[in-house]
Amino acid sequence: MDIQTLTYILVGASFALYIGIAIWARAGSTNEFYVAGGGVPPVANGMATAADWMSAASFISMAGLISFLGYDGSVYLMGWTGGYVLLALCLAPYLRKFGKFTVPDFIGDRYYSQTARTIAVICAIFVSFTYVAGQMRGVGVVFSRFLEVPVNIGIVIGMFIVFFYAVLGGMKGITYTQVAQYCVLIFAFMVPAFFISMLMTGNVIPQLGFGGTVEGGVYLLDKLDGLSTELGFAQYTEGSKPMVDVFFITAALMVGTAGLPHVIVRFFTVPSVAGARRSAGWALIFIAILYTTAPAVAAFARVNMINTINGEDGAGTLYTDAPSWISNWETTGLISWNDKNGDGRMFYAADDRNEMSIDRDIMVLANPEIAELPNWVVALVAAGGVAAALSTAAGLLLVISTSISHDLLKRNLMPNITDKQELLFARIAAAVAVVLAGYLGINPPGFVAQVVAFAFGLAASSFFPAIILGIFHKRMNKEGALSGMVVGITFTAAYIIYFKFINPAANVADNWWFGISPEGIGTLGMILNFVVAFAVHKVTGDAPENVQDVVESIRYPKGAGEATAH
């Protein structure tokens, strides 16, 4: 069977599975819609969290990004996993004991203030929307590359599927669909990785093959360092970013991960505090399977690509002898060749010998073809990419609909609505959010792609300090926490907006404060948030006794019941 037919069959089968699960797991109450009734087993919740967390970007772009960045790509690996340690140790168990539905719920109640709740709702909606537009775009791109339908039709199909199970099933439907999506995406990522590791190093486990030897008995990484130097790139295992920037970016990604509402809310869905702790561990295991494989795939793919293009002898491969994947992917514009010296040979380098332009996404998408794997593996990668994008989009849409129906309507504007009415509003909000996200995916505002990366900085500089202080500093008052949040997020947003939108020409290391790029500035924003909160608290007095008692009571597990609204 050809790739096209196989892809239709595999992607179609996975859709049928998701819809079947959605019908089986319909939500009947707000409790089920918001937090799946608080009854999801920790392992399943870990898997759902992993699928929620790993977006189309993790699946398609990350390995390619590392492949081009080498050591500098480590910021994503450490940053997007290290945050789970913070979640497990400092946030998840306490928030689960607190027993509410959302992050704005916690902020609003802990700091006894509607203003705080409203600020938190706005931050949550803003962060989630920038994210979800990128995901819908990802769905469209996968569809267009593998199924050869236009991007926009791909987005509409994706919208329809998400609409179906998010609106019908709420958190319960989403959670069990995400478990299925995790299985699809990890299988789709690992199968080509096993094959390519086996081909290159003779070791089937990519994490071990990463340190293995290639043909000729040279270590893979030594060979890659040698090739990189020869071609004018920085050594693969040494970075070119300044150390202070690497430090700050890693911290911003870690802390941002721990502050993202769609990640935190997952820990409200497990039945107990002990379950919340364990669930974070399982989530990280499931994430780490992909995150420790990706850098290995990155290195394999880079050696493979350089050898294919430049030839084993480094003299360049004749274009007429090139393998078919190069011309296949040329039609998508992801790779192109410009024969500058007219010798009919391709050559890839960092200096003016270079004749190639290569998009980093090709590293994962074309990997099965580069390694000459069977057609069904290529089709599998398509199904995996769609699963990764859909699962993240659904999780984000739920945060948006919950923020509107629960935090904004129930807790703010219309406190007297019944559970049934609230559920209806939640479904309407989810439906509107899907349509809006689809619209943003079809007509992406130019800034979406850039802003997604900065959502971490914004989450790090706003939510994270407010939650940490709310748990570990029981005398912290609303004045301190609020001014900290406002100063932190304003500072971070201003720095990013200045360098990215107002004066992009100035966005070079010489102009950055302390050498920190806009990607890493969230860390400084977070520190500022803490400092301001402490200072304001010093002059405004302690939080009321009854609030301090509540903080005491979330510090031990006993008595954690279901998540409740009141």
């Binding site: 996993t81 990484l221 420790t292």
Partner: protein, 88 residues
């Protein structure tokens, strides 16, 4: 108050914080320490085909994170039972 005495509540929290800070110190050491600040020095050491600093940054730190969380789960469950504040 679910603790038998106020003193117990204080001790429980102190032990919890000590455990948390110890684990966070290791968390910091493997990622920011070995993977970033000391990466050049550690890269002088070669183990199983990896430069050590590079390995920590792209592999080792992640493995350590997983171990840290499960150590925390185990120790906290024991601590909950010691002070009789575990869930039923």
């Amino acid at each position: 108050m679910s603790f038998e005495t106020k003193e117990h509540a204080k001790q429980y929290w102190r032990e919890n914080l000590r455990l948390m800070l110890t684990l966070l110190a290791i968390w910091f050491a493997v990622s920011y320490g070995a993977g970033i600040l000391l990466v050049d020095a550690l890269n002088e050491i070669n183990l199983f085909g990896f430069k050590l600093g590079f390995w920590f940054a792209q592999q080792g730190a992640i493995y350590t994170f997983i171990v840290l969380i499960f150590v925390y789960v185990k120790k906290m469950n024991a601590l909950d039972r010691k002070y009789n504040v575990h869930e039923d």
